[in-house]
Symmetry: C2
Subunit: 343 residues, 2 copies
């Protein structure tokens, strides 16, 4: 949602129907500072520099049924994150896990550590965060990060994050993303990194590269739409978090107390069975065999209950975690537009 | 298990291979005092009076494959406990619940309050407790005893208790039990009650009425069998209580936190659905209808989970409660025989 209505923080111009005072603009400024990119290029910079974007950096859009749409590239990029390996440097003093990422475009694997993903995330957030939600990476973790289970889970989550980034026409086509996927050697990677870190088309500057420029919008309409989007994304964020909370609780119960209880029921039946076995009564096996079988069945139920979440709840949780990451971007992204239309 | 090896508490006779001293006999005496009947008729009374039992009170047995067996009556008694009604006396100052009991022999209903069942229990325990396990009645309860759910449950349990008593050839044929089931009027009941309370064939006296008298048994063998029965009933009692404990825990979880959790999951889905409904996006109903249906399904699961215990666990619990009641009688019953064979 691009606006050309102008912005000057200290200016107290015509309110143009928007009943907001200086408090609002100043609270927006705080919000903007969450974007690292904004510290070197605030909205005012966009206004000053909007003519300088170079041709090759242009981001083409067209007007679709419900609004502007990014033009999609001809080939869809995808990649596979696999084969986590333990690496080390400084003569083994420092250990880390390296993942192999193979893009479908080159079919040539490159290696990256988690911190490289994090670096890429920061660059993407700097460059596109004002216009495109860049979901955060799977959490950092300090303890147990060499445990197999954790590495597998992180790999799956990095795969999910990369797949989402690959699907985005702007992100996937960007120079920094391509560098990450297709660097030729260490030297290539180092040089690309330096270049990306010096990139000045960051923060709100993204809007200067979008082509064609949108027609001027009614500030009131923009404000209303921003409000609407804010409300919706906030409500969806709350609901997604609610799903995650109850899902987590259910996960814990299904892998903790519930199977333990079924195990105890199973044990109780088997204990009763062994009492009868020790009785010395004739023909007790008809009874004890049935009791033992019932007890073992309860133990199997315990196992089924404990393993079930991995088979269904897992996917619900992962998807909602992705949504949570995406939705977390919206307050700041919408904030940029609100500031731009403030009088 | 009848023994004629003799008993005299203060006598220190030949140990006869049984390595037990006065401590044991004295601890047995404490145990015996749990039987109200024993206070007026100790084992010594049995020895003194064993010749006086009258013909009509004789309890016939025959020797079956695994030992002595009670002779069964020709017709099997059963009864139906139903139709609990609130009654009152003293001009409504005292309220109580009366149950209707209809035996299959007369098909004529009689009314009894819980306290009448309790009176019957005490009589049966006095009269037969040394030889026949008389399971305790369902628990007394002070608060909420007029609540429909409680009345229904108590009625079911009284039915279970009565059915078990009816099935026992000795108990069901006894005068006091017949009085309870077939008294003609208030006067008949009062007179029968007085007579039963004066009955002197109680406690160990039951053994004097069994016919034919068993052959003398080897005290050592009796001791060993008593030990074996003690061990088995104790172990079964422990196991039955374990089943009851885990069953109770499972019942609580199934009717408490587990359905609540499914309800919360259901609500979370429906909240997410209503967020999309409020979005104003076109075609959202494909998504929201599915989410709402998923949410409602979780709420149905909650209900299923909460109602399941009544459909299966209930019967396991009731049966085990009956077993618990029966098993609780054995220590004292076996104790009688141990005392009788003590040197």
């Amino acid at each position: 949602m691009k606006s050309t209505s102008g912005y000057a923080e200290s200016e107290s111009g015509d309110a143009g129907g928007i009943q907001r005072g200086g408090m609002h603009a100043s609270s927006m400024k705080i919000s903007l500072n969450k974007f690292p990119g904004f510290s070197k290029s605030g909205p005012e910079l966009y206004l000053l520099c909007k003519q300088i974007a170079k041709g090759k950096d242009k981001l083409p859009i067209y007007v679709g049924e419900v609004g502007p749409v990014w033009s999609y590239p001809e080939t869809q990029i995808d990649c596979i994150v696999a084969d986590p390996k333990k690496g080390s440097k400084m003569y083994g003093l420092k250990s880390y896990i390296e993942y192999q990422i193979t893009p479908n475009t080159t079919n040539r694997p490159v290696n990256h550590r988690y911190k490289h993903f994090d670096w890429l995330y920061e660059r993407l957030l700097d460059k596109f965060g004002s216009a495109i939600p860049i979901p955060s990476l799977p959490d950092k973790q300090v303890t147990g990060r060499f445990e197999e289970e954790f590495i597998k889970m992180r790999m799956e989550r990095l795969q999910g994050w990369m797949s989402r980034m690959c699907r985005h026409p702007v992100v996937s086509g960007s120079e920094v993303f391509q560098l990450f996927l297709t660097y030729k050697d260490e030297k290539d990677w180092k040089m690309g990194k330096r270049k990306a870190e010096k990139d000045e088309t960051v923060g709100v500057m993204i809007f200067s590269t979008i082509e064609p420029e949108a027609a001027d919008l009614d500030p009131l309409e923009v404000e209303q739409k921003c409000e609407q989007f804010s409300k919706f994304t906030k409500a969806m964020d709350d609901s997604v978090k609610e799903v995650l909370t109850v899902g987590n609780e259910h996960w814990k119960r299904c892998t903790g107390p519930l199977p333990k209880e079924y195990q105890r029921i199973g044990k109780a039946f088997q204990n009763l069975s062994s009492v009868f076995t020790s009785s010395g009564y004739q023909g007790e096996s008809t009874l004890t065999d049935a009791l033992t079988a019932a007890g073992k069945t309860y133990e199997e139920i315990a196992q089924l209950v404990a393993e079930q979440p991995k088979k269904d709840l897992h996917f619900l949780m992962e998807t909602n975690n992705e949504y949570k990451g995406l939705l977390g971007c919206f307050p700041d992204t919408i904030g940029v537009h609100k500031v731009n239309i403030s009088p």
